[in-house]
């Protein structure tokens, strides 16, 4: 009895191991495709499952929820570290220029059966299709369009083209998005492109400086104009006031004159000469004999002569 015991245990263990080849685990985001003699039979979702052991049944696990990614023009080489792949990133534009484009295409498996059984290398299929479509779309635009407003359109068109291709191949792949990452001029010419931006800044600066000059000049001149105007007004006022003053004095005199013309005239004459003649350099008098008499004014006008 004991002699049979050991071989039986060995047999049982071998049997358990054999049956164990049919046990498998499916993770939450995955799905398993079960094949009977190589032919696809059914799918099972997440959990621990068992199927008939080798060679009767086998399975393929496909991750159907995780988003897969292909990088074009660059590779993620570490945490937050990227490396540009020039040969992939440099693309010709419609105006014969070259631009460096980096993109990421994200996709999920929409049909695990097609995905697992129809394609030998699905990730490269997505990568090549995207690269091809991206270059095609970039080559339809000028470098300026690509660097400015056309990024979104390029991405949208690439998405549509690639999805269409994958549908043609019946690949069971659904694109999530195509995102353009760094879209820049090639490093060889980036300084020249930067200079264009600097030139734009310079242009702004020139204009701002000129505007500043204008904003400063005009009020200053307006102030000067106001000054000229006020000066003119004051001159004008002065003229009028002076005239009024002078004529008032004159009119007062006229009044006197009217009252006593003779006497006023004489008074005015004499007082004028009295006031004025002393300031003359010489006063000479001609008499009937045509002889010049020199008169010292001091003597004539009775000042205290020297």
């Amino acid at each position: 009895m004991r002699r049979w015991f050991i071989p039986i245990i060995v047999l049982v263990v071998l049997l358990v191991i054999y049956i164990g080849t049919g046990v498998f685990q499916v993770n939450p985001s995955e799905m398993a495709l079960i094949k009977t003699f190589g032919k696809f039979k059914s799918t099972v979702g997440p959990g621990i499952h068992i199927h008939a052991p080798i060679p009767f049944q086998s399975h393929v696990i496909v991750d159907i929820q995780s988003i897969r990614k292909e990088e074009i023009g660059f590779r993620t080489v570490g945490d937050q570290k990227y490396e540009t792949k020039d040969t992939e990133a440099l693309m010709l534009t419609v105006d014969g220029n070259i631009v460096s484009v980096e993109a990421v295409v994200s996709y999920t498996v929409s049909d695990p059966v097609k995905y697992a059984f129809r394609l030998r290398d699905p990730s490269n299929l997505v990568r090549f299709s995207t690269e091809s479509a991206l270059r095609d779309r970039i080559s339809k635009r000028t470098v300026d369009e690509i660097l400015t407003g056309e990024r979104e359109n390029v991405a949208d068109e690439v998405l549509a083209i690639v999805q269409n291709l994958l549908n043609t191949y019946d690949a069971g792949i659904k694109l999530v998005n195509v995102l353009l990452q760094e879209v820049v001029p090639p490093s060889e010419v980036v300084s020249a492109f930067d200079d264009v931006n600097n030139a734009k800044q310079d242009k702004e600066r020139y204009i701002n400086e000129a505007t500043k000059y204008a904003n400063n000049l005009v009020p200053k001149v307006e102030g000067q104009a106001l000054k000229i105007q006020l000066e003119a007004e004051s001159y004008s006022q002065q003229q009028v006031l002076k005239a009024t003053g002078e004529t008032q004095r004159y009119l007062a005199l006229l009044e006197e004159y009217r009252k006593a013309p003779q006497i006023t005239e004489t008074r005015l004459k004499i007082s004028t000469l009295q006031e004025v003649l002393p300031k003359a350099k010489r006063v000479m008098m001609l008499d009937n004999s045509q002889k010049l008499s020199l008169i010292s004014l001091d003597e004539i006008l009775g000042g205290d002569g020297k």
């Binding site: 094949k35 009977t36 003699f37 032919k39 060679p55 693309m91 010709l92 014969g96 070259i98 059984f117 394609l119 030998r120 490269n124 299929l125 090549f128 690269e131 091809s132 270059r135 080559s139 043609t168 191949y169 001029p185 020249a192 200079d195 264009v196 030139a199 242009k203 400086e209 000129a210 505007t211 000059y213 005009v218 001149v221 307006e222 104009a225 000229i228 105007q229 003119a232 007004e233 004008s236 006022q237 003229q239 009028v240 002078e246 004159y250 005199l253 006229l254 004159y257 009217r258 005015l268 004459k269 004028t272 000469l273 004025v276 003649l277 350099k281 010489r282 006063v283 000479m284 008098m285």
Partner: protein
């Protein structure tokens, strides 16, 4: 003892049956074709996945992949109709459509790939030679349809189906690339110069307009000032004339006397005896 013999007998039979079965069944996967060959001759092609049978020890089975496969053709230099060189990096998507023919003509996949390479490359070169560089790079790639139909018809006899021929890259050779970079640089430099010149022009315009405005303001102010002064002078003149015109005779007297105050000081005066004022000096 008899019992032991029986058990051994059964076990041996089971093992033999299993061995026999294992040599006579063929498991064909979803992704495969199986070709059964007997003494170098194809006797059966299994295209459907599942269980199949063969004659044990006599038949051999070759399995072929039936999935879509990408073949990345190495980049090739191509001369365009305008005699420019382009580096074309293309790929094809193909699969084995007729395993029997494939086995007969190709034997192995690596041989098939080199044939594919030759055929597609020559198709590309022939088609692209008809177009100029601009068309190839920037236009819709209709010529790929030509290449596809040319290649597809050429490989059909090998049991191969070409699903698609696509161009991944159309690049300039490295030596031309530098020329492009130089051109791009000079293009940008001229754009930068243009932008700066525009800025200077605009700045000059703003300055000149300000100067002009300033000059106008100034001239206007001067003109206004003259007008104001004129008005003042006119009113003053009016006041004078109103006052002086009342008695012209007195005005003459007054003005004459007043003028003496300006004329006489510092001058030499010659007086006639007849002058009234000197009457008393005689």
């Amino acid at each position: 003892m008899n019992k032991t013999m029986r058990i051994i007998g059964i076990a041996t039979t089971v093992v033999l049956v299993v061995l026999f079965l294992s040599f006579s069944i063929v498991i064909v996967d979803e992704t495969q074709y199986a070709v059964v060959i007997r003494f170098g001759e194809i006797v059966k092609v299994i295209t459907k996945p599942g269980l199949a049978f063969k004659t044990p020890f006599v038949d051999t089975v070759t399995k072929l992949d039936k999935r879509y496969t990408i073949y990345d053709i190495p980049p090739e230099r191509i001369i365009t109709s305008d005699k420019k060189t382009l580096v074309i990096d293309s790929y094809i998507i193909w699969r084995i459509s007729d395993p029997k023919r494939f086995i007969e003509s190709m034997r192995s996949e690596s041989l098939a790939l080199s044939r594919l390479d030759d055929i597609v490359y020559s198709g590309l070169r022939n088609s692209l030679a008809k177009y100029d560089m601009d068309t190839i790079v920037t236009q819709e790639k209709d010529f790929l349809k030509e290449v596809l139909s040319f290649s597809a018809s050429n490989v059909k006899t090998f049991g191969i189906e070409i699903v698609d021929v696509r161009i991944k890259k159309t690049d300039l050779p490295i030596e031309n690339r530098n020329a492009v970079f130089e051109r791009m640089k000079s293009e940008r430099q001229s754009i930068a110069a243009l932008i700066r010149a525009e800025g200077e022009k605009e700045a000059q315009r703003i300055r000149s307009e300000a100067d002009k405005k300033a000059l106008i303001i100034q001239s206007q102010a001067q003109s206004d000032a003259e007008q104001i002064k004129g008005t003042g002078e006119a009113s003053a003149t009016k006041i004078y004339s109103q006052a002086y015109s009342q008695d012209p005779q007195f005005y003459k007297l007054w003005k004459t006397l007043e003028s003496y105050g300006d004329i006489i000081p510092g001058s030499v005066i010659l007086l006639d005896e007849e002058m009234d004022i000197l009457d008393y000096l005689k």
